[in-house]
Symmetry: C2
Subunit: 193 residues, 2 copies
């Protein structure tokens, strides 16, 4: 197994020296995931931090009426995990599902704790990573408050041009908090301008 992509990823933060890379290597496992396969379902306890090597995932909750609401996508070089369930070790209310055939690296909780304890750099790196995710989430919340559906869609296209081509509109609609039908009408509007 070659964890080079993960090493490269960490080079964006505090790069790992060789010893740290070796440490990491022993704590990571690889997993292939088929399209529409779940790596987390409601009721599960989230056991892993998941790093996407290839493919694309969505994380979503399901409301009383059975509707899915996407709160995050993750493609190459991104993390996707229900941090709440991972830390509390309580059953999750979320689903993580592959939108495309995928390959991921997984780190178990004991292994992550091992890394934290044996190398503070991981504390640092994961602190920074989650800070970035926090900022993004906060922006998302603010956009949902203050933007119209139309503007949220255009903001999404602008921010994730590549992702928005890979994803079915249904999934984008769910992420924007609207119905696929309404997104279709928005797209129609934009085109006819």
């Amino acid at each position: 197994m070659d964890i080079a992509p993960l090493i490269t990823y960490f080079n964006n933060y505090l790069p790992l020296d060789e010893a740290e890379q070796d440490l990491l290597k022993t704590r990571v496992t690889e997993k292939k995931v088929k399209r529409r396969q779940f790596i987390l379902q409601e009721g599960d306890i989230c056991k892993h931090y998941n790093f996407v090597l290839q493919g694309c995932f969505k994380m979503y909750g399901v409301d009383e009426k059975g509707k899915e609401h996407n709160i995050q996508f993750a493609a190459e070089n991104d993390w996707i995990t229900d941090i709440g369930s991972f830390h509390s070790e309580k059953p999750t209310k979320l689903y993580i599902e592959a939108i495309e055939p995928a390959v991921i690296f997984q780190i178990k909780k004991v292994d992550l704790l091992f890394l934290y304890v044996n190398c503070p750099k991981f504390d640092r790196n994961f602190r920074i990573i989650i800070e970035e995710k926090f900022i993004e989430l906060q922006n998302q919340l603010l956009r949902n408050f203050s933007f119209t559906a139309h503007d949220r869609y255009e903001a999404f296209l602008a921010q994730y041009p590549k992702l928005s081509q890979r994803l079915p509109n249904t999934q984008i609609a769910s992420y924007l908090g609207i119905t696929p039908e309404f997104l279709s009408k928005i797209r129609n509007q934009i085109v006819s301008k």
Copy 2:
């Protein structure tokens, strides 16, 4: 200046030993804030991590139409900061304003970095703190997607019983993403049941 409340706060995470407490003490300053006073305004660069000792703050963005949208409250023993601006050192789009007369501790960026470098425990603690905030933010986003305004209000009352008594309904409405008028109608409904 007595930083005991902050020490006590950290005891919920990895407690600080005496040396670490002394280190912290030299890096923290106290500040009194009047009602309606801002500690951050659009265009500022967010210079501090703020820890609330007394009083209550709101953080909000303003949309094109001039409407305020609260994304966070912070009362005693909570942090409030625009992490995005703090890290990027770019002008913020957010406001942080005291809803009540308040006292806060502030940590400057250089001082926080100093703490991180000299004591990995701070990396750890702030990682955990922000993880908790991330989880809360994610729940908030999910509720905004999948709950009706009525249910969001009741969830807010249940989750923050004390805060909801301190806050004017106007502010709660803004946090829930609805108008004060509509919140009033919801409250009317609830009472008349």
